[in-house]
Symmetry: D3
Subunit: 161 residues, 6 copies
Amino acid sequence: MARHVSDSRVEMTEIVMPNDANPLGTIFGGRVMQLMDIAASITCFRHARCNVVTASADSLEFKGPVHVGEAIMVRSWLNWVGRSSMEAQVEVFSENLLTGERRRTSTAYLTMVAVDQDGKPTEVPRLELESDEERMRFRQAGERRTQRLRLREKHRMEEAE
Amino acid sequence: MARHVSDSRVEMTEIVMPNDANPLGTIFGGRVMQLMDIAASITCFRHARCNVVTASADSLEFKGPVHVGEAIMVRSWLNWVGRSSMEAQVEVFSENLLTGERRRTSTAYLTMVAVDQDGKPTEVPRLELESDEERMRFRQAGERRTQRLRLREKHRMEEAE
Amino acid sequence: MARHVSDSRVEMTEIVMPNDANPLGTIFGGRVMQLMDIAASITCFRHARCNVVTASADSLEFKGPVHVGEAIMVRSWLNWVGRSSMEAQVEVFSENLLTGERRRTSTAYLTMVAVDQDGKPTEVPRLELESDEERMRFRQAGERRTQRLRLREKHRMEEAE
Amino acid sequence: MARHVSDSRVEMTEIVMPNDANPLGTIFGGRVMQLMDIAASITCFRHARCNVVTASADSLEFKGPVHVGEAIMVRSWLNWVGRSSMEAQVEVFSENLLTGERRRTSTAYLTMVAVDQDGKPTEVPRLELESDEERMRFRQAGERRTQRLRLREKHRMEEAE
Amino acid sequence: MARHVSDSRVEMTEIVMPNDANPLGTIFGGRVMQLMDIAASITCFRHARCNVVTASADSLEFKGPVHVGEAIMVRSWLNWVGRSSMEAQVEVFSENLLTGERRRTSTAYLTMVAVDQDGKPTEVPRLELESDEERMRFRQAGERRTQRLRLREKHRMEEAE
Amino acid sequence: MARHVSDSRVEMTEIVMPNDANPLGTIFGGRVMQLMDIAASITCFRHARCNVVTASADSLEFKGPVHVGEAIMVRSWLNWVGRSSMEAQVEVFSENLLTGERRRTSTAYLTMVAVDQDGKPTEVPRLELESDEERMRFRQAGERRTQRLRLREKHRMEEAE
């Protein structure tokens, strides 16, 4: 069985509220991460049709501030699917509602694992790729996975020394 | 001027509430990220004595679930300080309050930038290292920084092709 | 100046959390209303490029329950634009993430007024209609407006008697 | 069995907080709706002595802004009771705590349905009317019900064409 | 100038939500304290017509649990008014909405101080007592005040030893 | 069986957010009480290894304001342990993150009772005292207990008259 990338795309829109923001009136990075994780969770849950847990988040970048009163849009889709793991890409855009200006402010790659009722990893449907862009993203996700595992192993050995 | 790692350590303790958790009753990764970002922000704010914004978060791992009703402890300290950037390490522990069992469940490295009232990067005090462990962490943080910048450059070029 | 209906469409996706729900585990109508109002506010703010306040909400229907752990999608667009008033239609869908089943569960028509910094009504761009469906919705919104004003007048007189 | 209107009256008082408000510092309509729905739910739950779900909300008007730091009072009582449906009227007042000025800012009629543990409609006690005002409200609620059903039917047919 | 006890009475009604409760499903004492403090703040703000800050809370008792899904009613009124200090009494009642059973579950005496825009204590109107019950409460509040100041002084001296 | 005071110490750190604060921008006393209650609950839960409920809170003092954007630290430890009751002391410190200035702003003594799954009081481990300071605090907690019971009895009789 297989599902397409388009089957599990998610779009969220929110207004940045005072409690989301630091004393400068710009959104906390952690609030952005929380929105990203929710969007990625819904994407992976939709693909897997079972509960998912966040395994890791690589390369979260915050390229510019989002201010209180601005809109924040979060878009999430699947880049890569393994046996029980999935990588979702999440992009965050800010929109100044007074000027209409939109900017991409953050990007992240979240790895989620499908789990059964006991929290054990469980198999997920295949991801049917449909375009060159989807294939490029699938390949890059694989590279990030390799890179991530290698760096972690290196530091684990140093800590053990 | 310089400050020590111990000057800006942060410890947070919370109880995991129903609204922090997915249908399996385990905390959302995004809620953990939010707690980590708050702890790292206070650490960096304490060192810099000025506002800070999250620039990136590398290598967030979630090694095990934290359940509703358990305590969650978040510890944050500085690994590395540059001109206006700082890397904080954040570790998360769960504690089953009925059995007393504690486990380390997540680790992350957050890069924060000190900013002035206009949101422009501003210089921060030096980090005075005091032990071999602090020096090892300072060196590894530098490696992560190099690795991160290199991987990003590679993907930026591929996207531009 | 004019903008299209498509320029201000909004889509929101959320997971229903325990604190959104009554003791039966189904979302409070008031929480749905709050999501609808936020979506309609962003739609009207996007069209008007100025702050908006909710003037009235007619005909909110809740056709079925949305359960804790399900996804809730809110879609909002403009039906009608006057001098400073706008009517947004908001539709709410539930999605059972385990089965993929989606249902439309609520519909509402919210009237918002564009206001300046002093809270006084201010003029908004015209709505450029592009399809027969958009024209039918424009006409029905006008009917609802007439109906609403007439019924209110009637009860106001009865209260004054 | 029967209960009186006075048996299920509800009064709520809150202070408007920054997160309840738009960038102009006035409460979101959706937050007011949420408070109204909670008040009406408690009123109907008290009368029915079983869980209730919101079926519809007609004619919510927002006559003036409520500002951050002001108090907001919500009063709710029953207008009409059918077999398993009930109409609650909810009125919202703002109070400027510095001047003591109070104003009625919103009114709504919410229809709730009493449900059993499976979410199926269940019978509720009769409403024992005690004054001419209660009898006038009972009659007007019936008119709103008729009007609402007629308008909906009309649009349903247009949509089906 | 003077105001009556009845001029600043406050009543709040809430439903206990999952996030207000511990793993046993009963409301946290701290959540009850927060509701009490809000009610007392509104009472004192109404009497003083200026901002107030909480100075102390004596003798909070929690006589029984309030469960998720139950209603909680908070009533607050003034017992005593000095130059810039006021003592509010707050009583909390739980109501099981399925059975109609109500119980008084907590009582507290909160002392608030009226402050000007710089946070400095400022004079408040006199409290015009109207009944024997109000006079008894005024006298008991004075006793609590004396008792509280004496006990604090005693421990301050022991700590200084 | 016995546990030490150090086994159940808790430290929490938070940033004061806009929604925690009154119109003057200083934290609500009730929000401080809520943080204190959570800290004391975790302390008592850790000692007892079973659920705890708040029985009373004596002598909460709020010695100075904590402002939005400042850090708030809450420290909690056990003073006294009876058969099923425990007294935790909670101290609150504010920290101005721009200047580094720290001040103790509140102190409270919370009495908690260990309860089993049915909410009935249950026995807790003994508290093994290790220093003169711990012994002085144990003794003072006993005095507060006596004082509290005596004053309550006096007022109960007056109310009954």
